[in-house]
């Protein structure tokens, strides 16, 4: 059972009071309880069951402009007392920084709206097992599938965020997720692919048969890949990975990267960064949204932000500390983006595939070859060759490379946006990148 708000509030208040007693001028604290149950299956047999019950306290104390933090999983008051003392001792001897402070009072979230983020339904392990049997049953229908793994996780969280300026808020959230990994084989060579669903409410979960079928179909389609010649070519990013472009944008426009001068988008505010057809939105108040929140990790109210409007960069993602450095007010993005998405494009998926004679359609990238500082990008990739609008054969062991600045300006979006993750993008074409292969 997840602990209630009163229990968490009691610990938060204890931390604030004791820190103040020992000399803290300001205090911020978060208390979290989470319970998670996971069952996994492999080749139609139970493989692992895992139950997790975790508490955490994150405390930051300030003495004027000095700051230090502690984290602990032991909520006993005797342990907290020792740790608070240690935190205050460290605060006293940490050099001060004029930008250290709690958020401005008038920016704090005033009311908590019910965004429908908590489903109290408990899905017992027996039910999870039934679900997973169906996933694997469907995934292993084709004889080319030689291995399947499937998992179901149920998560319940409750938290309280409080500070010494009187802010205190928190709420419960839940998450159900299910996944399937399928391994296919032909002539001794294997390929792996997956599908997964993640929702706030159990009732919104994909059907198990759908998860299994998609994973298996994708794994089979990848069999017998070819390595292609190195060339310059238009690259279509599958929806599963096109959202990665938004994650890169989010890192590059975080106040942190901008203030430190380590972003390839520094000084680009109010400049054209994308083609003028492109709008990018970050909306924290979507009902049941996987990235939804009432306030950010400092308690600052978060509202919908247009990050990019008609191709022009309009907003950074700002927290209190780096906001002060930039002389800008926090816009409730301490902790990053919420539900981030591209507004839909105009061409259908089919039209996009037909817009040139030949494309490379990428379904997976591996490696972390993107630099926010220089904008240079180079990652391993696999996918399919597209000729005359049709996926002709699978491709692997290649890399794709370019520079984000140039890539952003050459994006065309399809109109197939779905809100499946916290960051979402439609299928996306980037015209002319370098593929390295044979």
């Amino acid at each position: 059972m997840i602990r209630d708000q009163e229990f968490l509030k009691d610990i938060a208040s204890y931390c604030i009071e004791n820190s103040k007693k020992l000399g803290a001028t300001d205090v911020g604290v978060k208390v979290i309880h989470s319970v998670s149950e996971n069952v996994s299956f492999r080749n139609k047999k139970l493989d692992e069951s895992n139950r997790a019950d975790s508490f955490a306290v994150n405390l930051t104390t300030y003495i004027e402009k000095k700051k230090s933090s502690i984290n602990s999983s032991d909520l006993s008051k005797s342990n907290l007392e020792k740790l608070i003392e240690r935190c205050i001792d460290a605060t006293k001897i940490t050099p001060s920084d004029e930008n250290n402070s709690l958020p401005d009072k008038d920016l704090m979230s005033k009311e908590i709206r019910d965004l429908n983020l908590y489903d109290e339904t408990h899905y017992p392990n027996d039910k999870k097992i039934e679900f997973l049997k169906k996933v694997e049953e469907t995934a292993s229908t084709d004889e080319k599938i030689v291995n399947t793994e499937a998992g179901f996780t149920e998560n319940k969280n409750n938290f309280i965020l409080a500070n010494s300026n009187g802010f205190l808020g928190g709420y419960k959230t839940s998450n159900f997720s299910s996944s399937c990994v399928a391994v296919s084989r032909i002539n001794g060579a294997m390929e792996r692919d997956y599908e997964f669903g993640s929702t706030r409410f159990l009732e919104d979960m994909m059907e198990p048969e759908e998860i299994g079928k998609i994973a298996a179909d994708k794994a089979i389609k990848k069999l017998g890949p070819k390595k292609i010649k190195s060339e310059r070519i238009g690259i279509i990013f599958d929806k599963r990975i096109s959202k990665g472009i938004l994650s890169i944008l989010a890192s590059a426009i975080s106040a942190n990267a901008i203030a430190r001068g380590t972003s390839f988008l520094k000084d680009q505010i109010n400049s054209e960064v994308f083609p003028n057809s492109i709008n990018i939105i970050d909306d924290p108040k979507i009902e049941k949204g996987l990235g939804s929140q009432n306030f950010d990790s400092e308690g600052v109210e978060t509202n919908s932000l247009k990050l990019v409007e008609n191709g022009i960069l309009k907003n950074y993602l700002i927290d209190t500390y780096y906001g002060k450095k930039l002389n800008l007010k926090s816009n409730g993005r301490s902790g990053g983006t919420t539900n981030l998405y591209f507004e839909n494009g105009t061409s259908s998926f089919k039209d996009l595939l037909n817009s040139e004679k030949k494309f490379l359609y990428i379904t997976e990238t591996i490696g972390h070859g993107g630099s926010i500082i220089t904008g240079d990008y180079s990652v391993g990739a696999s996918g399919f060759m597209v000729e005359d609008g049709e996926l002709t054969y699978p491709v692997s062991e290649i890399t794709i490379a370019g520079n984000f600045k140039e890539m952003f300006k050459n994006i065309t979006l399809a109109n197939d946006l779905e809100m499946k993750y916290s960051t979402n993008a439609p299928t996306l074409l980037i015209n002319q990148m370098t593929v390295a292969g044979k």
Binding site: L46, E48, S54, R192, G261, H368, G369, T399, G437
Partner: protein, 470 residues
């Protein structure tokens, strides 16, 4: 006596009784207790950006029967919590017909001292050193645009209670010191990162001004990259420098030789035992017994003493890395490779210090044999798809080779290859094996554990370089 039951409503004897009762008719399992203290102090943008102290304690209770693992963890060490976990495990494993294997090798070896590096250096002196790093690097000129430096220290105490009251303990120090610098020249920015660490005190790595060497190395890498040209795209010869570039071995071969993927037959290596998987001069080991190294362990997280496991000997695949579960199911012995990130995680077979041993060639011989290719000296991270065998890693310092001579530096690029075939493309193995500086963390199934790598210089006949220049 256990330190974990002080100030709780349960004592060691009672805990042992719950463990023995829960694991009745199971094949394996244990109660794993962990106390983890860690600290992070970060200097960034001329300021002490953050100082954080973490204190985490909890248990993970595991019961194994056949292939099935039931796991329950909590940070509440109490009678009620343990009882609840026990019920949860028994409830999951309904039909148990196992025989608990009580045999667990004992060890008198210790590969590191029981010190707490966090307390071994005062907070003040850590702050002072970070400031010195900042001043030292910024004094190198106005091209220094940004400096980040940090201390990461930890002390982990673990206790493993097995069925019938066997108790195994280990205390593990670990430190890491990192410097990152961003240089700016003619509107171009590049970064250089370097760090050192291992299972000793901070001062073992930083004394006598050796912290300046760390700064100099980060500065040198950034400076080289300022002059870099676009990297080439396509297949070519690649010379890898010694030391850290061994993450190629880690990604290309290491993960594919972990027991779980081979038992499940999802690794591209699962049917290759005893076969030639590398050129004849190639020998690769995974060694948990190197003194004070980042990837070393006296006992693994199941209590098995670690060892030096030969993975590939003269090109022939000899062994997989095993934890107890996968070893039992594959009819072999644990190699002391059962590891977990923390009490919140189940044990998996993992790498420790993965090393390719020296051959007989000099680096110069390799470079002069290459007409057109690249020479890669330093790397960021890597990743592998163990099923298809395809792996990547990212160069952070590399040069072109033209007609046997090292040419201009090239921009960071991803290299991609195929695990089971890449080691057959190794044509020369160098005589200069070197360990990495002690900063590696390996990720698998969402769990990060500290690891090491080592290798001599090697020449690879053919690999795809993911640059932009055709």
């Amino acid at each position: 006596m256990s330190n974990f039951f002080k100030e709780t409503d349960i004592d060691t004897l009672q805990a042992e009784a719950i463990v023995t009762e829960t694991l009745k008719n199971c094949d394996d399992g244990e109660l794993y207790l962990e106390n983890h203290k860690s600290e992070s102090i970060v200097l960034d943008d001329n300021k002490i950006k953050s100082s954080t102290y973490n204190s985490d304690q909890g248990y993970g209770f595991r019961a194994v029967t056949g292939e099935v693992v039931a796991y329950s963890h909590s940070n509440d060490i109490s009678k009620e919590s343990l009882r609840k976990s026990s019920d949860n495990l028994k409830d999951t494993l309904k039909s148990k017909k196992g025989t608990y294997n009580h045999e667990i090798p004992k060890t008198n070896s210790k590969y590191y001292e029981n010190i707490n590096p966090i307390e071994g250096k005062t907070f003040d002196s850590k702050i002072d050193l970070l400031k010195s790093v900042n001043n030292y690097l910024r004094s190198k000129g106005s091209i220094v645009n940004q400096v980040t430096a940090n201390f990461l220290g930890e002390h982990k105490s673990i206790e493993i209670i097995r069925s019938d009251n066997q108790v195994l303990k280990d205390d593990r120090p670990l430190v890491r010191f990192n410097v990152s610098v961003v240089l700016e020249k003619d509107g171009k920015k590049e970064t250089g990162v370097y760090g050192v660490g291992g299972r000793q005190s901070y001062d073992d790595y930083l004394k006598d001004g050796s912290w300046k060497d760390v700064c100099d190395e980060a500065f040198r890498i950034a400076n080289v990259n300022l002059e870099s040209k676009p990297a080439p795209a396509g297949e070519m010869k690649v010379v890898l420098g010694p030391g850290w570039p061994a993450i190629l071995i880690h990604e290309a071969i290491g993960h594919g030789l972990e027991g779980d993927f081979n038992r499940k037959k999802t690794s591209a290596f699962h049917s290759l035992m005893g076969q030639q998987v590398a050129s004849e001069g190639v020998t690769i080991v995974d060694d948990g017994t190197l003194h004070q190294r980042r990837g070393s362990l006296t006992i693994d997280d199941e209590g098995t003493p670690t060892e030096n496991t030969v993975l590939i000997e003269n090109g022939i695949l000899k062994n997989y890395m095993q934890d107890r579960l996968n070893a039992r199911l594959m009819g072999t012995k644990s190699t002391g490779s059962g590891r977990r990130e923390s009490y919140k995680h189940v044990v998996l077979p993992r790498m420790r210090n993965t090393m390719m041993l020296s051959g007989k060639y000099s680096q110069d011989e390799m470079i002069s044999s290459v007409d057109k290719g690249i020479f890669a000296v330093s790397f960021g991270g890597g990743q592998v798809d163990i099923t298809s065998g395809k792996f990547v890693f990212n160069c952070t310092e590399a040069y072109e080779i033209n007609n046997g001579k090292i040419g201009s530096p090239i921009k960071g690029a991803t290299l991609i290859g195929d695990g089971p075939s890449i080691l057959k493309e190794v044509s020369l193995v160098g005589n200069d094996m070197k360990l990495d500086p002690g900063i590696g963390t390996c990720g698998k199934a969402g769990q990060g554990v500290p690891v090491g790598v080592a290798q001599p210089s090697i020449l690879i006949n053919k690999m795809t370089v993911g640059g932009t220049k055709l």
